[in-house]
């Protein structure tokens, strides 16, 4: 436990030290003396005079010198003040420029942001629109499929319903009787015979085609069946349109021997 904590303490110590150093540098950097503006040497004007005069002049001069010194001091103070003022103005200007730049940058950024945002929003909107559209389409398709399915279910259900089945039975019987009345069963046929014929009909019952499936009958039996089917056209109409089938399978299977 202690072994594992030690390596953790050291980086913290280093970190503290590093922070201290950085703080130090920052302080130094901040407190470095700014370079002073250089003092401008003032020009000196001298004139030769007599003693008295000189005296007078000397006191005058001293007075002048003092005045001049005061004047110089004043001027220096004024220069200093002007300089400070200029500096202040310059700093103010720089600050203003900075602020202006920052403002411009901010404005630019804001414009860019706004533009980006607008673009994003537009894209989002487009996407949302597309999504909405797609989902609407999906919904429509789904609805249609469901409707189709329901319709098919309804048909299937109807087909399996008792009423439909009995209608179908009567349709089958009608076709059976219709074909049987037209079939001349050749002598010698009987329970052994089994002939399947696929008959194609169109709405209205017209027979438009027929083909033999498995058939153990001879040429005469096939001939008799072909003739019966042709003569059975048009086949009876179904009692219910939904019962109509394009293909009807006729199975010729006599129950009794025809001798």
């Amino acid at each position: 436990m202690s072994a594992s904590t030690r390596p953790g303490i050291a980086p913290i110590g280093w970190s503290i030290a590093l922070h201290a150093v950085i703080a130090g540098f920052l302080y130094l950097g901040l407190s470095l003396p700014r370079p002073e503006a250089p003092v401008m040497p003032l020009p000196i004007e001298a004139v030769v005079v007599d003693q008295a005069i000189l005296q007078a002049a000397s006191s005058q001069r001293r007075e002048d010198d003092r005045r001049m010194a005061q004047e110089r001091q004043r001027e220096a103070a004024a220069v200093e003040a002007r300089r400070a003022e200029a500096e202040r103005l310059e700093q103010q200007e720089a600050r203003r420029r900075n602020e202006e730049q920052e403002r411009l940058a901010a404005e630019q950024k804001a414009r860019a942001d706004a533009k980006r945002k607008a673009e994003q929003e537009a894209a989002a909107k487009a996407k949302a629109d597309a999504d909405r559209k797609r989902s609407a389409q999906d919904a429509r398709l789904r609805q249609q499929r469901e409707a189709d399915l329901r319709a098919r279910l309804a048909v299937e259900e109807e087909r399996t319903s008792a009423g439909f089945q009995s209608l179908k039975a009567s349709y089958v019987q009608a076709i059976q009787a219709h074909v049987e009345q037209r079939w001349f069963e050749p002598p010698g046929t009987g329970p052994g015979l089994s002939c399947t014929v696929f008959v194609s009909q169109i709405p209205g019952g017209e027979v438009v085609g027929m083909r033999f499936g498995s058939c153990n009958g001879g040429a005469a039996v096939r001939q008799s069946i072909e003739t019966a089917v042709r003569n059975a056209s048009p086949l009876p109409a179904p009692p219910e349109p939904a019962l109509f089938e394009r293909e009807v399978r006729l199975i010729f299977t006599p129950k009794e021997s025809r001798r």
Binding site: L149, R152, L153, E156, E157, T160, K168, Y171, V172, I175, Q176, V179, E180, Q181, R182, W183, F184, E185, P186, P187, G188, T189, G217, G218, A219, A220, V221, Q223, S224, E226, T227, A228, V229, R230, N231, L243, E245, R246, E247, V248, R249, L250, I251, F252, T253, P254, K255, E256, S257, R258, R259
Partner: protein, 432 residues
């Protein structure tokens, strides 16, 4: 609810375009009574008058069979003479299923040629196309052969229009009877007397080759069995044993006759007589009457009538095993005079049906019986060689006449009778 779920699954399992659903209809019987056909007069391509109306003979044959319904000539709208000239839609309008067209021409050698074609109106196909040469006096036979071919092509069964029928005709008052054994064509034409006698003639039977008849005649004063060759008229007595010599029936190979003999003991039993050697073999031995034998087409057994159970019934004797005969008929109190259908599957018998004697078909294996006729005194059934029809004798206005019933019982008709009374018809085998 569960059903609904099942339905949903079923519906989901359906392909997007479900396979065309089907309606299945079973056709259990053919109700059409006959086949409508147009037999168009043949074009005569020769000098002078038409030597023979082939189409008229064909039409009469088909009509008489009861299975065809020929269109009267007066209703024909056109008279084509070749298959490619048959306008299918016109004939369809007339509700005709088949059309026969053809030409009759004279060949350079003076003979004639019948060329004919059969067209199916349903399919438009030509089903037959044949040329038959014939002498002038054989044109009627050629016509029957055309009818045979049509019958076979449409019904799947060989036609029997070219066959013959033998029967016994009885003329004159009771005091002066005349008996004639007659052979005619199947249509009743071309009547020829084979044998005539003032004494009874009975039980004519065709030889399998159609060349001879065996029959019973009393012309010598006692019953005897004779075999007569038709072409030559030669008559041979084959059995004149004491007592009854009756009911001959040819074996399928033509070498033997099954006969009913009483011999000296007066007990009528069935015997087999070998014609070439006169060798006699007793087949049944029973105190009752065993008579009216007839051969199964396969030659392996003989059916006969016996009253060994008290009343006449049909029995079958197997020729190979020698076991006791097996009773076949159990329906009704009287079943007699069996004849076997050419396919061996049915027997035509005389049965007592509600006080009347009628012709019935009996299932040779299971014994089931179907009454086919509705006369009062129908007797002596005989199958056509194609098995499609049964000829028999019946009464019409107090006279014995011949009648034909289809072996399914649907078609019945009396044959135009010649004068006098007609009995015991026997249909010939195929002759060509």
């Amino acid at each position: 609810m569960f059903r609904r779920v099942l339905l949903i699954f079923a519906a989901l399992a359906l392909p997007v375009h479900p396979a065309a659903a089907q309606l299945t209809v079973q056709i259990l019987r053919g109700m059409a009574e006959s086949v409508p056909i147009a037999v168009i007069p043949l074009a005569w391509e020769g000098p002078g008058a038409v030597p023979w109306d082939v189409a008229a003979t064909v039409q009469a044959d088909l009509e008489r069979s009861g299975r065809f319904r020929p269109l009267p000539r007066s209703q024909m709208l056109e008279l084509p003479h070749a298959a490619d000239a048959v306008d299918v839609s016109d004939w369809r309008m007339l509700k005709v299923d088949y059309v026969l067209v053809g030409r009759l021409s004279q060949l350079p050698d003076g003979r004639f040629e019948v060329r004919y074609e059969l067209v199916s109106i349903a399919s438009g196909q030509r089903l037959l196309g044949t040329a038959l040469p014939a002498d002038r006096n054989a044109l009627k036979q050629a016509s029957h052969r055309v009818a045979d071919a049509i019958y076979e092509r449409i019904l799947g069964v060989r036609g029997a229009f070219s066959t013959r029928i033998a029967y016994v005709a009885v003329d004159g008052p009771a005091t002066a009877r005349g008996y004639r054994l007659i052979v005619t064509d199947a249509d009743g034409a071309n009547e020829r007397v084979v044998f005539a006698s003032p004494e009874p003639i009975m039980s004519p039977a065709w030889s399998p080759d159609g060349r001879s008849l065996a029959y019973v005649s009393f012309h010598s004063g006692l019953p005897a069995i004779y075999v007569q060759t038709l072409r030559t008229g030669d008559q041979v007595r084959v059995s004149a044993r004491s007592g009854i010599n009756g009911a001959p029936s040819y074996s399928p190979d033509g070498t033997q006759l099954a006969v009913a003999l009483s011999r000296r003991d007066g007990n009528v039993d069935v015997y087999l007589l070998t014609l070439a050697t006169q060798e006699l073999r007793r087949l049944t031995d029973d105190a009752a009457i065993d008579t009216e034998p007839t051969w199964a087409p396969d030659g392996r057994s003989i059916y006969f009538t016996s009253d060994r159970a008290g009343a006449p019934q049909i029995y079958r004797q197997d020729l190979a095993t020698g076991e006791r005969p097996q009773r076949i008929t159990f329906d009704g109190g009287y079943n007699a005079r069996p004849r076997v259908s050419p396919d061996g599957r049915e027997l035509a018998v005389v049965t007592l049906d509600r006080g009347a004697y009628r012709i019935a078909a009996v299932d040779a294996q299971r014994g089931g019986l179907r009454v086919l006729t509705n006369g009062r005194l129908d007797e002596s059934p005989s199958y056509s060689p194609n098995g499609a029809d049964i000829i028999y004798a019946t009464r019409d206005g107090g006279r014995g006449v011949l009648a034909i019933v289809s072996s399914d019982g649907r078609i019945q008709q009396h044959l135009a009778a010649s004068a006098g009374e007609v009995r015991e018809p026997a249909w010939s085998p195929f002759l060509n």
